[in-house]
Symmetry: C2
Subunit: 350 residues, 2 copies
DNA sequence: CGTTGATCAGGAAACGTTTACCGGCACGAT
DNA sequence: ATCGTGCCGGTAAACGTTTCCTGATCAACG
């Protein structure tokens, strides 16, 4: 049905030269006679030849593929990393492959083996677990790894992440400065270092500000929207807190939803500058994670680590920043000016 | 620095057998003596052998990689397709590579050539352009292609998309049933078939309902948020329309933003069930595109097309559905119950 | 006991490319 | 005129795997 694809030999025959010359013309390495070069290029066009990447990689001893491995496609870093790393990869004639580990160590392990077998030139990794993820298959195979967002115990590879401890401190300071004094916080699973650091920083900053805290101010969810809603409902029911910091984006949305229509709601400080936070009423103040900058830094770092494998691994921490909106302002009544009403259709004339 | 990776020959030597036997054990095809098989497996473990995918693909004459090609990572289909196709790919021991065309025909062309060279086993494609995208490099190389979301003129490949004409009609009917009579619509660039079909369906349904329309009811934006905001501002300034249908998600958010704080705003019917539409006040009725179902159908279809390349291409159209919220309800006053106020911090005791 | 058939392991070729090596040719210098 | 040098093109090997084909061993059957 489909004619067999032309190989370099077909091109060579058509141009009346050897395969070596064709290769030289294609890769532009050595100098080739003008006339021959012209004939070769013509033959490439006329045969529709496209170099076989498998043969090439086999001979060259390495692919030019960069792998991006993340727990899931919903991870906010994922698409950002993808577009950043693609930009860099395209310039370097590399391609990008991806894999999702679905937060499963076994899948992650298997995935590493595949990447080793495929001789990828580098890996951007958001690991599943801080202690149980085992990088050694990759590192022993000499594959450069850059960790993104999550740290791995004892790994000496590059790391690019946000300074979550600092993010938590900034959150606490922001709320304290605005006069709030009875904080609560919705954290993630205690093994997850990112959210845990945010919680720690938050608590530390409140204590430094002279506020006594008992352990009941920390509630832990599973990062999903529903869990944020449930925990916020609990906070509302207890009625103790006057401000709540939510440490991830999905739970932030849930928390906001649980507060709708409540007059006695505490101030809300959410995480991630997602679209909804500026569209809702009242608009929601957020701790903005520098995802774009992080992704870009990670992609760059991998690029230079591939070019230069034997340098010392480095750690880059990027700072979050607070975007202040209405939800943490004192005494604001956004409901009187922040919403609109669909015009009554009855007024319409046809 | 890094020890060379073991090859199948190292394993063979260690186990005292030939490379052929090792290959047979690994691939589990032919039957091998129990004892030898045991020795081979032991040797694989002790050497840390991982098969070289390049050698394998070269010999087998094909990789097991599925490519996903989309204009940009922000495309709502992108992450959905990724996770669906990955699920299928993993079961089939395939991996997934991606490429973004950045809405650039030249990049898309180059990308196709790469995929041909890499002998990918199939491509899921959201094409850049309905008429200018040229699939022939892929099809001539015998690579199965499934188009997602966007149609290509004259291509006889599989297509999975949403029925946009129907989506537009549903939008019009929804608004008409609720008593609105002076419609407007914010469309995309007229070459973009998806939004254009929605606009056409919308206009057709209004006309069928006996409403006279002139051409001024259609405004065209560039799909970005800012453009939606600008066009909605224009509609508000003219004050003619009593309801507005916005044909893509980004412009929908912009349109909503432009309506905030306006008492005389028309009803809003947006596109895509994004998170913000249910969190804002008033919540926004939407035409929900079945992205998940579409992605899943596309991934399945590619799977079976790879398994079975010579069947007739098919077209699958999935229906949208309307999710009714507050923004298209008559006479609703959501501002009185849809928003909340951060508690005044002054009330707090330390 | 001999022959046939089945089963299974090994040798070697093949996939398509790059590149080390070699040889030939042209040109310049002595 | 002859030799040396340098440039450039071709030949062939090599990358690591799979698989065809062959040969050997063994069992069963005539």
């Amino acid at each position: 049905m489909v004619s067999p694809r032309p190989t370099i030999l077909d091109v060579a025959r058509t141009a009346g030269v050897s395969s070596a010359t064709v290769s030289r013309v294609i890769n532009g390495a050595a100098s080739v006679d003008k006339e021959l070069s012209r004939r070769v290029r013509a033959a490439v066009r006329s045969t529709g030849y496209v170099p076989n990447a498998m043969g090439r990689s086999l001979r060259r001893g390495g692919t030019s593929q960069i792998a991006v491995v993340a727990p899931d496609a919903a991870n906010p870093y994922f698409t950002q990393i993808i577009s950043e790393v693609e930009r860099i990869a395209r310039g370097d004639h590399q391609s990008v492959t991806i894999a999702h580990t679905e937060d499963d160590l076994e899948i992650e392990r298997e995935c590493f083996a595949q990447l080793v077998g495929r001789h990828v030139s580098g890996v951007l990794l958001v690991p599943v677990h801080s202690t149980l993820t085992d990088l050694s298959p990759l590192t022993e195979a000499g594959i450069p790894v850059v960790l993104v967002d999550r740290w791995i115990e004892g790994a000496n590879t590059d790391l690019v992440a946000t300074d979550n401890l600092d993010a938590g401190r900034q959150a606490a300071r922001h709320l304290h400065e605005r006069g709030y004094r009875r904080p609560a916080v919705i954290g993630g699973p205690s093994q997850l270092r990112t959210t845990e650091d945010r919680v720690s920083g938050y608590l530390a900053a409140w204590r430094e500000a002279g506020i006594e805290l008992d352990e009941t101010v920390v509630l832990r969810g599973d990062l999903q929207l529903e869990s944020g809603a449930a925990l916020m409902a609990q906070i509302l029911a207890e009625g103790d807190a006057d401000c709540v910091y939510v440490t991830n984006n999905r739970m932030s949305a849930g928390a906001f939803e649980a507060m709708r229509g409540r007059d006695d709601a505490p101030a809300l400080l959410a995480t991630d500058d997602d679209l909804w936070t500026r569209l809702v009423t009242p608009s929601v103040s957020v701790v903005h994670q520098p995802v774009r900058a992080t992704s870009r830094a990670a992609a760059r770092m991998l690029g230079q680590r591939i070019a230069n494998p034997d340098e010392e691994p480095s750690t880059t921490l990027l700072r979050s920043k607070i975007i202040e909106r209405e939800s943490t302002q004192r005494g604001r009544r956004p409901r009187t000016d922040g919403s609109w009403t669909p015009r009554d259709a009855g007024h319409a004339s046809s």
